[in-house]
């Protein structure tokens, strides 16, 4: 089998996944079985793609040529491949969790949600592997549309309004800002390919670079740059398996990855031209991160709190993309993985708690760790990791981001990053502590019989991964071709 065929199969698998789940919708065992099997097959294909890429196989698939100067094509490169593999692996972990959650909650349309989760993840992975900006935009917009029905899953006027906010903010930003940025880029380069060294390098001046970078940063609104972050709290109306994996991890990280790709492969050397926009966007991202943490602290509902924490934590990726040194870009890429694993684990715990105890507020978690020790141990590990507490995985993002900023003569960024991480810790650290060490509640379980292995196993694995990612730094830096030493 050629690398091209493997890539094509990888791209098409989510559609087959969604169809299989839809076809078995009325038989829960078959439906959940198909969901888990396809999710694991998808993750395996992603790992195989990485393995082949490491061995020098360059895959390329062109599906259509809508414009004479732009193809609908895919060509994996290390950063995109890393993010796609992370999304696929987390989707594999999410599949059994979704099965357990929807069964416990006696959901009315679990197949629809599972199919849409598969499609959203698949489209995000396709965006990661896109060969040019045109393909990225197509997959990115399709991902937004595919993930919208998950927000409106439970129905009702309030949820419909939340769905309108979600779709309105993200589509407006992508049409009003990202599309013109793309058209303008095409005007400068007469093509839209992701090019090593940067498509725009040597083609634009300071003013164009400042305006274009700003358009890209706000156009990719899923990266959660304040004030275009409102879609994420709105998305928390979705069921936990979707709100966590799809909205807080995949959709959010795809925006961040888009910024990394724009910084590395579209701007490249031209990033140094954006002398005003770069520091301004770093300040906005990291200042917004601190602000988002404070807003998170004010939220008692667990999912909105996690959403604001996500805005705070994904800002590190935005900052890395703007610093744009190789080490900072590595830190941003690694943070996509570390944050994804940590945030998915947090949502696994939140979902399990909701399914078993009916509790959805942060204040109701006190002492629950004594009743659900494995779940809250995983929650604590994940919370510390996403808050960049050493020696967990997230801490290494903080370290390398600071190092990258120092190499770009932006040492002040390290201070902002540290402030962001401290604020982030304040959001989740005490919560985990209270849950583990507070007095145990008397009768917390409203659905004790719902505690299936499907629901609990992903929680434990997620927690373990938050710890184990530590060992991924060296191979990942080698895969991405970044030298982390002096």
């Amino acid at each position: 089998m050629s690398a091209d065929l493997l890539l094509l199969i990888f791209l098409l698998t989510p559609a087959a996944h969604a169809m299989a789940v839809g076809a078995t919708a009325h038989v829960p065992v078959l439906r959940d079985g198909a969901n888990i099997i396809f999710a694991f097959a998808y993750a395996s294909l992603a790992m195989l793609l990485i393995h082949w890429h490491q061995n020098g196989a360059q895959a390329f698939v062109a599906l259509a040529r809508p414009l004479p100067t732009a193809e609908f094509s895919f060509a994996p490169e290390p950063i995109g491949l890393t993010a796609a593999a992370a999304f696929a692996a987390l989707a594999a972990l999410n599949a059994p969790f979704a099965g357990g959650f929807f069964r416990a909650m006696e959901d009315r349309a679990p197949a629809r949600a599972q199919a849409l989760i598969a499609l959203s993840v698949g489209l995000a992975c396709a965006a990661c592997l896109s060969a040019n900006l045109f393909t990225f935009l197509l997959c990115y917009q399709a991902m937004i549309v595919a993930s919208f029905p998950l927000v409106a899953h439970y129905g009702g006027p309030e949820i419909r309004r939340a769905g309108q906010v979600y779709l309105g903010v993200l589509l407006t930003a992508s049409v009003a800002l990202l599309l013109p940025a793309m058209a303008w880029t095409h005007g400068f380069a007469n093509r839209l390919d992701f090019v090593a060294g940067g498509l725009l390098a040597g083609r634009i001046g300071p003013i164009e670079a400042d305006v274009l970078l700003t358009l890209f940063a706000f156009g990719l609104a899923t990266a959660g740059l304040i004030p275009l972050h409102l879609w994420l709290p709105a998305a928390m109306r979705a069921p936990s398996p979707a709100a966590g994996l799809v909205h807080c991890v995949v959709v959010c990280s795809t925006g961040a990855l888009g910024l990394i790709k724009v910084s590395l492969l579209i701007f490249g050397g031209a990033m140094s031209q954006a002398m005003i926009a770069r520091p301004a966007l770093i300040c906005l991202a990291l200042g917004g991160s601190v602000l988002a943490s404070f807003i998170a602290l004010s939220k008692d509902e667990l999912k909105p709190r996690l959403a604001y924490a996500t805005i705070a934590q994904v800002a590190l990726c935005t900052a890395g993309a703007m610093i744009a040194t190789p080490v900072a870009l590595f830190a941003a890429s690694f943070h996509i993985v570390a944050h994804g694993v940590g945030k998915a684990s947090l949502f696994f715990t939140a979902g399990a708690v909701e399914a078993l105890t009916g509790r959805t507020r942060a204040s109701e978690l006190t002492g629950l760790g004594r009743r659900m020790p494995w779940a809250f141990a995983a929650f604590a590990l994940a919370a510390l990791s996403v808050s960049c507490v050493p020696p967990l995985a997230g801490a290494w993002s903080l370290l390398w981001l600071s190092a990258g900023a120092a190499r770009a003569d932006m040492i002040w960024v390290a201070g902002l990053v540290l402030a962001s991480c401290i604020a982030s810790f304040a959001t989740l650290g005490p919560l985990a502590g209270k849950a583990l060490f507070g007095p145990a509640p008397a009768h917390p379980f409203v659905r004790p019989d719902a505690a299936s292995v499907l629901l609990i196993l992903p929680v434990a694995v997620g927690g373990a991964l938050s710890l184990g990612l530590l060992f991924l730094i060296d191979p990942l830096s080698q895969f991405l071709g970044v030298r982390l030493g002096p």
Binding site: A64, R65, P66, L67, P68, F72, L137, L138, Q141, A142, Q164, L167, G168, L171, T172, V175, A176, L179, P180, A183, W184, H186, G187
Partner: protein, 499 residues
């Protein structure tokens, strides 16, 4: 035999495209039944489409056709160039597909005695549209423009059989037509005074050499304003709201996509004349004026679409919003801008055909029009029809993998190159507003339950048109090279060199 026929059609294409609907008009007037008359209309549209496609496939440069052997400037000369071929293919194909669909509703909506007259009036509008595209001088353009308005007024008035509000709507059409024709006639007179010529080539040559072309610039601006009414450019599109939402539903389906195309191509021709012959300052003034009109039209009509409570009105406003985008492309006054505008125009034609046909299929038999409630639950009641509406709205938004994305893309490129920032902003804003009204339609079609007394859509006759137009929109969304090259070829057939 067939080769001889091809040669004959090719040699006489400029006059055949006008004669085909003209003969159909005569035949329809004397046809014994409505069906017979309508068959003549469909046959003429097919002949027009076939001739236009043949002319497009064998096009190798401009073709002049002096009527009766009288060449310009004295005689009437018809011409086919890249731009007119592009427009003829569009109006031929859209007219054919729309008129096939209209057959199903003609007998339901129109009094039996008036059915032949209705078909004849529709054929007359088609004649005027084709004539406007092949006219070689300003006088002939004026004649065909008048022809369109009079025939359309009559056609709208026939709608009183079904909806009494068609009467005032017809009066509006006649008044609007009089204003449009007067504007065009005054403009043409000014150009004639300034150049001593009504022939487009001669006028261009004289203007290029003239020291002071300010009067001619005013004349050209007046002509553009007159044609903009036929092109559905807001705020000059008020007549169309009545004509297409109060007049017979089948006429909107048959001609809703034809008129904006003919009007817009005529606008493009005058803009090309201004771009090639006027002094740079004046040319810039015409360009800025048209771009502002287009930008205003795109936004204003989009906002009207947002407030529309009737599917047929919604279709008119959507077409008008797209016509505004087309005008912005023309205003760029470059080969790239006009190519983008023409690509957008083909997108307008296809989406207008889909929306007008769907609206006609959904129009209630009780003269209540087609309120938005007829869309409720359409996804379950008529999946094919709802899919066609969805494709039309997606391409209007400019969603990826539809032709609309590529046409908007081309337009944005052209406006960036021409530094018409407000035009680019208007195009983007109209897309954003389209997301909102399209979202409402999607919600009605796919998330709401239909009212219990909802009638079945009368969509059987519209099926071929809906299928072909929707397929083309999707196909060209994946491979836009062919329509883009055709639009570039059409734009390139005009002189954009300036003086």
């Amino acid at each position: 035999m067939s080769e001889a026929l091809f040669d004959f059609v090719r040699a006489h294409a400029p006059v055949l495209v006008v004669l085909a609907p003209l003969i159909a008009m005569a035949l329809a007037s004397f046809a014994p039944s409505g069906r017979g008359a309508w068959a003549a209309l469909v046959a003429s549209a097919a002949a027009l489409a076939g001739t236009a496609i043949l002319a497009a496939l064998t096009y190798d440069g401009r073709q002049s056709y002096p009527l009766g052997g009288w060449a310009a400037p004295l005689g009437i000369e018809l011409r086919i160039d890249g731009l007119s071929v592009y427009g003829l293919v569009l109006i031929g194909v859209m007219g054919l597909l729309g008129s096939i669909g209209g057959l199903g509703l003609l007998r339901a909506e129109t009094d039996r005695a008036r059915q032949p007259l209705a078909a004849a009036a529709a054929a007359a509008v088609l004649t005027g549209a084709a004539g406007l595209l092949v006219a070689g001088d300003l006088f002939v353009m004026f004649g065909f423009l008048q022809w369109i308005w009079i025939a359309l007024g009559a056609l709208t008035a026939i709608g009183v059989d079904h909806d009494r509000r068609a009467g005032p709507a017809a009066l509006n059409v006649v008044v609007a037509g009089a204003v449009a024709s007067a504007l065009f006639a005054f403009g043409a007179a000014i150009v004639f005074m300034a150049t001593g010529a009504v022939d487009l080539d001669q006028a261009s040559a004289v203007l290029s050499a003239a020291e002071d072309s300010r009067a001619a610039a005013a004349g050209l601006a007046m002509m553009i304003a007159g044609l903009a009414m036929a092109a559905l450019l807001a705020p000059l599109h008020g007549w169309a709201v009545g004509a297409f939402s109060r007049g017979p539903a089948w006429s909107a389906a048959a001609l809703g996509a034809v008129l904006p195309v003919a009007g817009a191509i005529a606008v493009g021709r005058i803009v090309a004349l201004a771009a090639s012959a006027l002094a740079p300052g004046l040319q810039h003034g015409v360009s800025v004026g048209l771009s502002l009109l287009g930008a205003f039209g795109a936004i204003a009509a989009s906002l009207q679409a947002l407030a529309a409570r009737d599917v047929r009105r919604l279709a008119v406003y959507i077409a008008a919003a797209q016509a505004g985008c087309v005008a912005v492309g023309f205003a760029a006054a470059s080969a790239g801008g006009v190519a983008g505008a023409l690509f957008q125009l083909s997108n307008l034609a296809a989406s207008a055909l889909l929306l007008f046909c769907a609206a006609a299929a959904l129009t209630r038999a009780d003269s209540a029009g087609a309120p938005l409630v007829v869309l409720d639950g359409l996804g379950r009641r008529a999946p094919f029809l709802s899919l066609a509406v969805s494709v039309a709205l997606l391409t209007v938004i400019g969603a990826p993998m539809t032709a609309g994305f590529l046409s908007r893309w081309s337009l944005l490129q052209a406006t960036f190159e021409a530094r018409l920032w407000w035009g680019a902003a208007a195009i983007i804003l109209s897309s954003l507003i389209a997301i909102v009204y399209a979202g409402r339609v999607f919600e009605r079609m796919y998330l709401r339950a239909p009212a219990p007394d909802m009638a079945r859509p009368r969509s059987a006759w519209f099926a071929p048109g809906l299928l072909i137009a929707a397929s083309l929109i999707i196909f060209f969304g994946f491979d836009g090279e062919a329509p883009l090259r055709a639009a570039e070829g059409a734009a390139g057939s005009l002189n954009w060199g300036g003086r």
